[in-house]
């Protein structure tokens, strides 16, 4: 039902991302299409979160670039560990309302319809009735559901999730996966960093295997082969402080 359009949503041209000249994502080439449901897997330090930061333009590429042929879309992002000050005395309903920020900004009023949308979002993540609870009273799984409710309200065409199910129990994971499937059916583009390969195989049609270098990108079953996974395990991803300058860029361009 999501026929890929001719122009991709994002194109990576020989993209290298990293910190202080050490690459964390090395020479990434490929397209993200509108409506993709893409999992990024790979070892810790393999550059998965870095790639998300690159997509959000929080870091500038060391080489190559990310091109947005249809223009830069609005994106919503769920960080690996949200740096929330949970001591702040705030109700769940007020926190979820912040998902209206992309439309309301800092100053516009939250209207009646917006408040209704908050309740609907809470219902969708299975947190109906928790609206008056304070944030610090929630368990880890409940907090993750609340964060998903806020994502839901952001209503972005491109959604980036960084390890959304780390430290979350099975029931919560199942509920949130259903939500991701709904987003997918609505035609949104979703990119999620994940570690559970079984989960990826059963829910994510596309996959990017990243261990600094790209070991595979495309249909999940073709990427997550025993051979590729063995390669990923052997990959040395720690930055070598004495690493020489990589001249692959010049070679490929000339």
């Amino acid at each position: 039902m999501n026929k890929p359009p001719i122009t991709p949503l994002a194109t990576f041209h020989n993209l290298t991302l990293g910190y202080e000249r050490h690459p964390a994502v090395h020479h990434l080439q490929g397209d993200i299409l509108t409506g993709d449901l893409l999992a990024i897997v790979g070892p810790n330090g393999g550059g998965k979160s870095t790639l998300l930061k690159g997509l959000m333009q929080e870091i500038r590429p060391l080489g190559g670039d990310i091109h947005w042929p249809q223009g830069q879309p609005q994106l919503a992002y769920l960080p690996q560990r949200a740096r929330l000050d949970l001591d702040f005395p705030l109700r769940v309903v007020d926190f979820v309302s912040l998902g209206h920020w992309p439309r309301c900004g800092a100053f516009s009023a939250i209207k009646k319809a917006d408040r209704k949308a908050v309740q609907v979002a809470l219902q969708q993540v299975g947190m109906a009735g928790f609206d008056q609870r304070s944030l610090d009273s929630l368990s880890g799984g409940q907090l993750q559901r609340v964060l998903f409710a806020r994502l839901l309200l952001e209503d972005a065409p491109l959604i980036l999730l960084d390890e959304p199910f780390a430290a979350v129990d099975e029931a919560t994971t199942a509920d949130l996966l259903i939500l991701i499937q709904q987003w997918h059916q609505q035609g949104r583009t979703i990119i999620a960093v994940l570690h559970d390969l079984h989960q990826v195989r059963s829910h994510f049609p596309k996959c990017l295997l990243l261990a600094r270098d790209v070991l595979g990108m495309g249909a999940t079953e073709q990427v997550l082969t025993a051979e590729n996974l063995a390669k990923a395990r052997k990959m040395q991803v720690l930055a070598d402080p004495l690493a020489p300058i990589c001249d692959f860029d010049e070679a490929s361009e000339s």
Partner: protein, 292 residues
């Protein structure tokens, strides 16, 4: 009996104009400084208020030297000194290795030393105690209008910037992803802190002005668990403390600023023990738990 209660709690305000003025001034100050204090506390900047309060002194002293005991000059001087220190601390924290608190410590100390120097060398007759401890019992019309004006500006700006103010503290990454209003918000907030400290030093003195900001907020934390409740309870505590402090100062013939702050402090200690999240409840319930 009723007569005694009336004499103790209400008569001073009924019989004496300056006591009524003091009360009005305190109400204005409570309305304005308390919410600022609540946000200072929630942003873990409780001591920032104290440091900026010290920084105001040289400005006020300079104002006094230039124009005598003029409300306008001293207020303006205090505002400028407070602003300069707040901006230097916030600005340098963004471009050097030192963090905001370290910068603030440096500049408030310099500012305070300069202030004490100015006050002590320039004139012998300046009443240092007035600057340090305020004169809430001598608030004239001009001062009351200034206090009311500052209250109005503060409440308006807080209402406008409420959302980014909350978000900058609660989830700064989310704010940064969606907007670049964070820095503006921080600066507006610092400006409000300075403004309210300057308002407070007319009444309570430079050193006591922080008290009416922070103490109601900290006391209210033991009672309220939500932001809106916190703001209301803090306001109630501030008003109660001002009223009782004024009475204590009147009946026992004590300096007013410290009397008000001590009353607020007593309310804090009371809340610490008796409040909903206070120590007493913890001791009473220690070792017991509910079934579900």
């Amino acid at each position: 009996m009723l007569e005694m209660i009336y004499q103790a709690l209400f008569a001073p305000f009924m019989d004496f104009g300056f006591m009524r003025r003091a009360l009005v001034g305190c109400i204005a100050l409570s309305l304005s400084a308390t919410p600022v204090g609540v946000f200072l506390m929630l942003r873990r900047m409780s001591l920032t208020g104290d440091a900026i309060a010290h920084a105001i002194l040289p400005g006020a002293a300079l104002g006094y030297m230039v124009a005598g005991l003029s409300l306008g000059a001293m207020t303006l001087g205090g505002l400028i000194a407070g602003w300069v220190v707040a901006l230097l601390s916030g600005g340098l924290a963004r471009i050097t290795v030192l963090k905001e608190d370290a910068n603030l410590a440096v500049f408030y100390l310099l500012s305070l030393a300069l202030g004490v120097l100015l006050v002590s060398t320039q004139s012998r007759n300046i009443d240092l105690l007035h600057l340090l401890f305020g004169s809430v019992l001598a608030l004239d019309n001009e001062a009351l209008v200034l206090l009311a004006g500052i209250t109005t500006v503060t409440l308006l700006l807080l209402a406008v910037f409420l959302r980014p103010l909350v978000l900058e503290c609660l989830d700064p990454d989310f704010l940064r992803r969606h907007s670049n209003i964070g820095t503006t918000t921080h600066l507006v907030f610092l400006a409000l802190v300075v403004l309210n400290l300057v308002a407070g030093f007319q009444a309570l003195g430079t050193l006591m002005a922080v008290g009416i900001m922070i103490l109601p907020a900290t006391a209210a934390r033991f009672w309220a668990r939500q932001l809106d409740q916190l703001l209301l309870v803090a306001l109630g505590i501030a008003l109660l403390g001002c009223w009782l402090g004024l009475l204590m100062s009147w009946h026992l013939d004590l300096p007013t600023g410290p009397a008000i702050i001590l009353m607020l402090g007593s309310l804090h200690i009371f809340s610490l023990f008796v409040g909903r999240d206070g120590l007493l409840k913890r001791w009473l319930h220690s070792g017991k738990h509910l079934k579900s």
